[in-house]
């Protein structure tokens, strides 16, 4: 049979594996097998590609794949579960960088092969380097913010929109110039100019990625991570247009679509539009109305909190980023088990945007072996919140802020929250009364049924556990 045909069919098989893999990933029972199926699809695609190559530089290909494997395996093995958001951000950025380099390399390769580039090819190369570069630098900023290498607060400066508009305009202009050139009719000086345009496009796109990510605060990171995930898929898709390969286009757009859906879910969970997340500088010092709520917070000692918990029959844990930061998930599970053997009904309620990445808290609780059946959705527990004796808030803040339904002036107004303020007692584990990542004051801390257990989340939970064990 014609080898070209066989390869085409194998690419279709790989695409089918990706489609089934993704479908299986969206159900608890089949997710792990789904991941494996999609990995097999990847293997098929790679092997098929290698057999089609005209001139394989074996040494370099083996070197590149080998180095990538070593780094990838080490990173995947060594990363802590609490550091998962920055790991995903980093991998995402690498995918974007790879697409950028593919576009750049193909500019050389295709031009050398045919002496010119068609308009379609230049447009595809332009889009690949543009999206790839934005994905890369944006992911690096997200990585820096998530791993606290740089400030998690929104970085705002004067005339921000003007600068962004300028960069976008310059990119559009350079893009047109780059795409319409006819390489076969140019002098060598003309060729150099086109190359300068390409480099300028890459640099400006890298700058655009940084500019569009730095004004976004840490609490909005779940949205950004989803969006960058989508971009990395679209970059691969654009690279697929450059080399005219359907398997890249199919899998790239599957990833692009899944990132867009997750982005939409996250925005919905915050009752905000995507534009608001991206451009409002939410949670910066200027947008938060600090000092709006004053009152008497009621601090509580671990020994007194124990007495409340000991008498409780119905307990709900509400974890947030603070639990991840303090690595408190194992201590939390232990406390939950003690409460259960004490006769209380124990549940865990996770807000969709709690943490720094979609599903972040679920991963941590899974790591600590909290049974899946003990999780409850916010919309299911809110109607019966009055029946809850104690709601324990561990390092969550904005997702339990009652200002979202009480104060129309609050930046959080309208966001669906977990209404722990309606529980009989609410114990908040927190370092201080400082507002959360979004910089919005939380009136929950000053409610009469709220008790503040100050200190590191892990130490506080451990103190409660040892009280129970005595």
């Amino acid at each position: 049979m014609n080898p070209e045909l066989i390869r085409g069919l194998l690419y279709i098989v790989a695409s089918i594996f990706f489609i089934f893999g993704l479908k299986m990933l969206s159900s608890q029972a089949t997710a792990r097998r789904g991941n494996l199926v999609s990995a097999v699809g990847m293997l098929i695609a790679v092997v098929t590609t290698v057999t089609a190559m005209e001139d394989i530089r074996w040494f370099w290909v083996v070197f590149g794949v080998g180095l990538g494997c070593v780094v990838g395996v080490l990173a995947a093995r060594l990363v802590k579960m609490t550091a998962m958001p920055e790991m995903v951000g980093l991998f995402n950025g690498f995918g974007g960088l790879a697409s950028l380099l593919v576009g750049w390399s193909e500019y050389h390769g295709k031009w050398a092969a045919s002496g010119t580039l068609s308009l379609f090819t230049t447009i595809a190369i332009f889009l690949t380097v543009l999206i790839g570069a934005v994905t890369f630098s944006g992911s690096m900023v997200a990585y820096g913010k998530l791993s606290t290498l740089i400030t998690g607060r929104p970085v705002l400066y004067k005339r921000q929109n003007l600068v962004n508009a300028f960069v976008l305009g310059a990119l559009a202009g350079l893009g047109v110039l780059f795409c319409v050139q006819k390489l076969d009719q140019l002098s060598s000086a003309g060729h150099a100019l086109v190359y300068v345009e390409l480099i300028a496009i890459i640099v400006l796109a890298l700058i655009l990625g940084v500019l569009s990510t730095i004004p976004i605060g840490g609490a909005d990171m779940p949205v950004v991570i989803c969006l960058l995930n989508s971009y990395s898929g679209l970059a691969a898709c654009a690279a697929g247009f450059v080399i005219g390969n359907n398997v890249l286009i199919v899998s790239g757009s599957l990833v692009g679509a899944s990132g867009i859906i997750l982005t939409r879910i996250m925005c919905k969970a915050m009752n905000r539009s995507l534009a608001n997340v991206l451009f409002s500088g939410f949670g910066s010092a200027t947008s938060a109305k600090a000092g709006g709520y004053q009152g008497q917070a009621n601090p509580i000692a671990a020994s007194d909190a124990y007495l409340i918990l000991e008498a409780a029959r119905n307990v709900v844990f509400v974890p947030g980023y603070g639990m991840a930061a303090a690595q408190a998930q194992h201590a939390v599970r232990e406390l939950g088990e003690l409460l259960r053997s004490n006769g209380a009904e124990v549940r865990y309620c996770i807000h969709p945007v709690a943490g720094r990445m979609p599903g972040h808290m679920n991963v941590l609780l899974a790591e600590a072996n909290v049974p899946y059946e003990m999780l409850v959705e916010p919309q299911d527990i809110n109607p019966t919140m009055e029946m809850v004796d104690v709601a324990i808030v561990i390092g969550a803040n904005d997702v339990v802020n009652p200002a979202a339904k009480e104060d129309q002036a609050s930046p959080l107004w309208g966001m669906p929250i977990i209404e722990v303020d309606r529980a009989r007692t609410c114990i908040v584990l927190k370092r201080s009364l400082n507002p959360g990542f979004a910089g919005v004051d939380n009136p929950l801390f000053f409610k009469p049924n709220t008790r503040m257990l100050f200190g590191d989340a892990k130490a506080s939970v451990a103190a409660l556990v040892s009280e129970f064990k005595q």
Partner: protein, 104 residues
């Protein structure tokens, strides 16, 4: 495949259909699987490794083109291998938990 007025609409056709398919596939994913779904789909976006390999193997390609392509191979491989392994590690934890609970 050469990009021309015949092939580009075909490729674009595939792109549009795959986008719709992706939306339908992921629409009902439960929130506890958001992280593995994201890192798993992130690994799929490493498919650009195919592009990197193709770019590294052009007949008579220049040294610059090969160098860029090999660097792309390295990063795409990290994306693919790391992405799949880390997703598997996460899902392994989810799975043992489902077994402990006894029901799905």
């Amino acid at each position: 495949m050469e990009l021309n007025a015949t092939t580009v609409p075909l490729l674009f056709f595939v792109f549009v259909l795959a986008m719709f398919l992706g939306v339908e596939l992921i629409k009902k994913v439960p929130s506890q699987l958001h992280t593995p779904l994201m890192s798993g789909s992130n690994a799929i976006s490493g498919i650009t490794i195919v592009g990197a390999l193709v770019a590294s193997g052009h007949d008579g390609g220049t040294a610059v083109a090969t160098l860029l392509a090999i660097v792309a191979v390295v990063f795409a491989t990290i994306n693919v291998v790391g992405g799949y392994l880390v997703t598997d590690r996460m899902l392994e934890m989810f799975k043992s938990k489902a077994k402990d609970g006894g029901k799905r």
